[in-house]
C-alpha cells in the first residue's frame, strides 16, 4: 500500500484538471498557428483564443473584450496599477492600498512611490478586514486609484469589496481588486459589483501556471507595461500563449459549473470539519482571518509555542503538503507581514500553518490530517522552552 498523500497547499497552486490538460494539448503541436496570422493555422488558433476569452469573461459576468490575458497574476497586478497610474498621472498621483496585499501589488505601489507617486496603506482589523470608512477618509482630491484584494492568500479573509468599491465610485476613484485567490472559488459578478479592474490567475483554479488575466471595465484606459505587436487590444503585446489561454478558458468554464452546482458547499463543510477538528484536538491554537467571511477552501491557524517550518517539514514527512508564514520559510527573520498586520505578536505569527483544500479533497484526507497533525504539534511543543509540559 502506498502511503497517503494529501496536498493542502492549493493557495500556492493547484493541480491542472485533466479536462484542462486535454483541452490544451492540441494547441501545442496540432493547432500551433499564431493567432495573429491570417491563414487557416492562424484562424484556428484565433478561434481557440476567442473562445477562451469568452469562457473567462463568462465566469465573472464580463464582456469578452473586457478580459486582457497576461502572463500570470503578478503581471496583471502590475498592468492594473502601473497602467492606470500612468494613464491618470495628469489627474492625480495618489494611490490607496491595504497592508495585506500580495507583493505583486504592494511592491508595485511602493515602486511608484519612488517614482513620483504617493500612496497610503490602509490597516486591517484583527480578522484582516479593510474598513470602507477608513478608505473614504484616506481619499484625497488627487487620489486616482484604490487596490484592495478580493480575498487574502494567507488568512483567507474575503474583503468587503462591494462597499469598498462603492466608496471609490462615489469619489470618482478607480477600484482594482486582486482576485487571484477568489476567482473560480466564490461567485463574482462584475456587472453587479463596483469593480473597475480585477486580477485573475489560472493556476489557482486548476489551470496552468504562467497564465492570468486582468478584467478591465469598458472605457478604462491603461498604458501598456509591455509594448510591441499590439496584441490584447494594444494593452499587452506578445504572441498569445495559446495553449495556456485555452487551459485557462477551460478551467474557468469548469469553475463556473462547480459554482452553479453547489459543489463548493462540500468544500466549506470539509474546511469547517478541519478547523473544528484541529481546534478540538490541539489546545492553544487560533484561527487567523475571518471565521465566516473566508475562502471556502482556506484554513489557517497559529499554533502557540512552536515554529511553522518544523510543522511543515514533519507534515511533509507524513505525506501532507502545507505552508507557513513563519520567518524560517521565507529566508528572512520576520514572520509574514500579513499576520503581523492582524496584530499578532511575533512568536505567535512564527507558528502559522496554512492548509488550503482542493475540489478533490475528501473526508478521508481530513481524517488523515486530523490524525497526523496533533502528535506533530505535541512533538515540537515538547522541544519548546516556552511550553509548560505539566500545565
Amino acid at each position: 500500500m502506498t502511503p497517503r498523500k494529501v496536498y493542502l497547499d492549493n493557495s500556492a497552486t493547484t493541480q491542472v484538471d485533466r479536462k484542462v490538460l486535454e483541452a490544451m494539448l492540441p494547441y501545442f503541436s496540432e493547432e500551433y498557428g499564431n493567432p495573429n496570422s491570417l491563414h487557416a493555422w492562424g484562424r484556428e488558433a484565433r478561434k481557440g483564443v476567442d473562445n477562451a476569452r469568452s469562457q473567462v469573461a463568462q465566469l465573472i459576468g464580463a464582456e469578452p473584450k473586457e478580459v486582457i490575458f497576461t502572463g500570470g497574476g503578478s503581471e496583471a497586478d502590475n498592468l492594473a496599477i502601473k497602467g492606470a497610474a500612468w494613464a491618470l498621472k495628469d489627474k492625480g498621483k495618489h494611490i490607496i492600498t491595504s497592508s495585506i496585499e500580495h507583493h505583486a501589488l504592494l511592491d508595485t505601489v511602493k515602486w511608484l512611490g519612488k517614482n513620483g507617486y504617493d500612496y497610503t496603506v490602509l490597516p486591517v482589523d484583527e480578522t484582516g478586514m479593510a474598513d470602507p470608512k477608513e478608505l473614504e477618509a484616506a481619499i484625497r482630491p488627487d487620489t486616482i486609484l484604490t487596490s484592495i484584494m478580493y480575498a487574502n492568500n494567507e488568512i483567507g479573509t474575503i474583503e468587503p469589496v462591494a462597499e469598498l468599491g462603492e466608496v471609490c465610485r462615489r469619489h470618482g476613484v478607480l477600484f482594482h481588486t486582486d482576485g487571484v485567490q477568489a476567482t473560480g472559488h466564490i461567485k463574482i459578478d462584475v456587472k453587479e459589483l463596483p469593480i473597475d479592474m480585477m486580477t485573475m490567475a489560472a493556476h489557482k483554479m486548476y489551470g496552468p501556471k504562467g497564465v492570468g488575466a486582468l478584467y478591465v471595465r469598458k472605457g478604462i484606459k491603461l498604458i501598456p507595461v509591455i509594448h510591441g505587436g499590439g496584441q490584447e487590444f494594444g494593452v499587452r503585446s506578445g504572441t498569445e500563449n495559446t495553449p495556456g489561454l485555452i487551459g485557462f478558458g477551460m478551467a474557468a468554464e469548469l469553475a463556473a459549473n462547480r459554482l452553479a452546482s453547489g459543489e463548493i458547499d462540500n468544500e466549506i463543510r470539509l474546511r469547517d470539519r478541519l478547523i473544528g477538528g484541529l481546534t478540538e484536538r490541539i489546545p492553544e491554537i487560533t484561527l487567523t482571518g475571518h471565521r465566516t467571511k473566508r475562502l471556502p477552501y482556506h484554513a489557517s491557524i497559529c499554533v502557540k509555542y512552536v515554529e511553522g517550518e518544523g510543522m511543515l517539514l514533519l507534515m511533509d514527512a507524513a505525506g501532507i503538503g502545507v505552508s507557513s508564514g513563519s520567518a524560517c520559510t521565507s529566508g528572512s527573520l520576520e514572520p509574514s507581514y500579513v499576520l503581523l498586520a492582524l496584530g499578532l505578536d511575533h512568536p505567535t505569527a512564527h507558528g502559522s500553518v496554512r492548509m488550503t483544500l482542493s475540489k478533490d479533497t475528501n473526508d478521508e484526507d481530513i481524517d488523515y490530517v486530523l490524525e497526523k497533525f496533533p502528535p506533530i504539534v505535541e512533538k515540537l511543543r515538547y522541544l519548546s522552552p516556552f511550553y509548560k509540559k505539566n500545565q
Binding site: S99, H102, N153, S326, C328, H346, H350, P385
Partner: protein, 169 residues
Amino acid sequence: MYSEKVVDYFMNPRNAGKLEDANAIGEVGNPKCGDVMKIYLKINDKEIIEDIKFETFGCAAAIATSSMITEMVKGKTITEALSINNKDVAEALGGLPPAKLHCSLLAQEGIEAAVADYFIRKTGRAPEGFRPAHSTCTACGGSCGGGAAVQAKEEEEEKFVSEDHRVAE
C-alpha cells in the same frame, strides 16, 4: 534545501528536553526572530560536561543544530566545548543553507551562555570575555533589535512590509 543529516537531527532530536539536575543553563536568541535555544548543562568537579539537554523554539535548522551541538559537547571539558564554533556545527551537519547559518551561531552561543552561567553560579561573575546571557542577539545579526531594544521597537511596529521578505503566495 536541507542535508540528510539536518533532517535526521531535526526528526530525531538528540538530548531533547529539560535537565532537572542541571547546574548551568543558557538561553539565547529571541522569540521575535523565531529562534530561542535553551541549553541545560550538568558540569562535574573536573569541569567535564556530564550531561546536556536542550529546548528549542525555532525552525528545523535551529532544532538540528541544538541537537548536534549537544552531541558534540557531551563528555567534553568546558574548554573543549568552548572551542567548538558555529562552523564546526554546520560542518558536522553536512552544511546549512546560507539563510540558516545564524542557527549554528545560536548553538555556539547557547553553549557559551550556559558555561558563563556555570561560572556566575560558582564565582558570582562571568569570566573575562563572556557575554552574559540574554544581552545580545548576534544570531540574527541584530536585525531584531536584540534584548531590551526589542520592547521599544515593538511599540513602533512598522506598518509596512520589509524589502527582503518573501512568502509563498
